[in-house]
């Protein structure tokens, strides 16, 4: 177990190093001089040189990379070209909204996907199964920006039940917080839920077809006992993987949903940085999101090992 853990952490660090190289390289391929762009019409040679020196652009690329990486490790991702704010601060400001939305969406996804997927597998081939499969197929194919816009049309503009945009921090009261959260969480949660449903269904179905299920039935267990004690413990293993991946995506900021609902999350921060050519912010945000994604993957692998004695006990 500990050997496995060490190996996985090393792998993650290696991937992270690769990610940092890709991010750094990408940002230095950005056409146009970012400092010149940042200065805009107020161009002044002295200011320009000073700014270049301050962000280290006058040094060789390799040196720039290592100094950037060195600072990044200590949590310093540089300052925004646009407003001079530390990138780390900008990211941290966006985190509450992103985490709130991610967890709410995942909650909706699981509430839908677990029962739907399990029932659909246990009752496979029935009308119920076809209904669930068809619904999840629609969900997977659904453009989130369209779903979000439709929800706004129905629940905000027509019925007037819920606000169409914005984020209310928890401090503003739970009702306001929830009212703002419902539509974006539903938009992304139902799509995630459709993906997870399909995985749950196929994982449960695969476990149901194993020989040990017949053994369990031959003991005299009821069908529900068989599912609960023998099928699900095996099905969790692949399910955890896909749920973890989904959480990874959600925590990376769901760009389009955030744009539609004017949600102040990481995705919109990255998109705005692209439009503003604020490359330190984009660089920092992308690195941070990739880091989070890898960290979730690592956690998933650890849970995976906990669930599967074949990995755990070696």
């Amino acid at each position: 177990m500990s050997g496995f853990l060490v190996r996985r952490i090393l792998q993650m660090l290696l991937a992270l190093l690769g990610v940092s190289i890709v991010v750094f390289a990408l940002m230095h391929l950005v056409p146009g001089d970012p400092v010149r762009v940042a200065l805009g019409t107020r161009f002044d040679q002295d200011l320009y040189d000073a700014l270049r020196e301050r962000v280290g652009l006058d040094k060789p690329l390799i040196q720039q990379y290592f100094s950037w990486l060195g600072s990044a490790i200590t949590g310093d991702l540089g300052v925004s070209f646009r407003n001079g704010q530390p990138v780390t601060t900008l990211i941290m400001e966006r985190l509450p909204a992103t985490i709130t939305l991610a967890l709410a969406a995942l909650f909706i996804a699981l509430v839908v996907a677990l029962p739907a997927g399990i029932i659909s597998a246990v009752r496979s081939g029935t009308g119920l199964d076809y209904t669930v499969s068809a619904a999840s197929q629609v969900g997977i194919s659904m453009p989130d920006f369209w779903a979000g816009v439709m929800y706004i049309l129905l629940f905000s503009l027509t019925l007037g039940w819920l606000p169409s945009s914005g984020f209310a921090p928890f401090g503003d009261g739970i009702v306001e917080w929830a009212r703002h959260l419902i539509l974006p969480a539903l938009t992304i949660g139902l799509i995630s839920g459709s993906i997870i449903t399909r995985f749950v269904r196929s994982a449960v179905l695969e476990a149901l077809n194993q020989d040990y299920v017949l053994t369990a039935r031959a003991k005299g267990l009821s069908e529900w006992q068989v599912v609960r004690r023998h099928v699900l413990p095996n099905a969790w293993i692949p399910i955890v993987t896909v749920v973890g991946l989904q959480l990874g995506f959600l925590l990376g900021g769901v760009v389009v949903t955030e744009v539609i609902f004017a949600w102040p999350g990481l995705g919109r921060l990255a998109l705005t940085a692209v439009k503003d050519r604020d490359f330190t912010v984009l660089q920092g945000a992308v690195l941070y999101i990739a880091f989070m994604f890898l960290a979730i993957n690592l956690i998933v692998d650890i849970i995976y090992a906990r669930l599967d004695p074949r990995v755990r006990v070696s």
Binding site: G18, P143, F145, L153, G252, V255, V256, V274
Partner: protein, 301 residues
């Protein structure tokens, strides 16, 4: 002489083609998907001819009129016919889908073949590289790439293609690892067939099934990604119509003219569903054991 033996050892996936088609045709959803795709491709090719109005035919007096006999899907804020624009936009969606996935195939499959066949250091190196690409959420990576290349439909194709490359590399590698252990590959090796020959004649034909399935499913998600990028203003540029763009433009008039957004959105939904149905059908027919990686990659956004 060894050539003959080598040929006889080669598995013949071709003989399975008819069986695959039969299984596919028995799947009602897959057939529905195929019919929808046929219509889509037809519309994609002949869009301008079919469209009742020009895509940029501005008609201010009739702006924001609802669906009617003259304008099936209504008109937009400039009085342009939404139906014509939806029809013509099919082409760019399909183009981006096919070219982006084609890019991912051309880059990803050889990487997977080499990694899976030669293993060892080259395998570790290539797959770690793929892992790095895989560590970014798809849309974020596409956005970052577009930040470098600049917005536009051609760059969107490259960005989406790069995003989907690791999937093909992984799927191919996984299948190659399995196939390399098969008796006919070991037999071919034992009679001295060269590596290239083994890869081309024995390995590639036998790893095609998962690749075909993945291609179809990836097309669905590539089209979804293009729509998302165009929605964000990073894909197709005005005044050319694209479904994602039309939706974004429609948002501003949503209360007065919901049809501006509803119909392009439906077009995306139907197209993506059609590819998914066909992909699922193909998977059941070709490769029932395969777990599609595209799903674990998550949605396009």
């Amino acid at each position: 002489m060894s050539d003959h033996l080598d040929d006889r050892l080669a598995a013949k996936p071709v003989s399975r083609t008819r069986e695959t088609l039969q299984t596919l045709m028995a799947n009602k959803l897959a057939v529905a998907g195929l019919i929808a795709l046929t219509i889509l491709v037809f519309v994609g090719i002949f869009g301008e001819t079919i469209a009742p109005y020009g895509i940029n035919e501005i008609d201010i007096p009739n702006r924001l009129t609802g669906p009617s006999g003259t304008h099936w899907f209504g008109t937009d804020d400039l009085g342009r016919d939404v139906f014509s624009r939806v029809i013509v936009a099919a082409r760019v969606s399909l183009q981006v889908g096919f070219i982006a996935v084609g890019f991912a195939l051309v880059v990803g499959v050889p990487i997977g073949l080499v990694a899976g066949y030669y293993r060892g250091g080259i395998d570790s190196f290539l797959m770690r590289m793929m892992d790095v690409l895989f560590s970014f959420p798809a849309i974020l990576l596409a956005i970052a790439i577009l930040a470098v290349l600049g917005p536009g439909v051609g760059n969107a194709m490259i960005a989406i293609g790069l995003v989907y490359t690791p999937i093909f590399a992984r799927i191919t590698r996984g299948s190659v690892l399995v196939v390399s252990e098969e008796v006919y590959v070991r037999a071919a090796r034992s009679i001295g067939a060269g590596n290239r020959r083994i890869i081309a004649r024995h390995i590639l034909p036998n790893v095609m099934a998962p690749i075909i399935v993945q291609t179809t499913l990836s097309l669905a998600f590539a089209i979804l990604s293009e729509a998302a990028l165009s929605f964000l203003g990073l894909g197709v540029q005005p005044p050319n119509p694209a479904w994602g763009r039309m939706l974004a433009e429609g948002r501003n008039f949503f209360q007065q003219a919901p049809w501006m957004g509803i119909f392009p959105g439906l077009a995306i939904l139907v197209t993506v569903m059609a590819f998914n149905f066909v992909g699922d059908g193909l998977r059941d027919a070709l490769d029932p054991k395969q777990k599609s990686v595209i799903e674990s990659r998550g949605q396009s956004v």
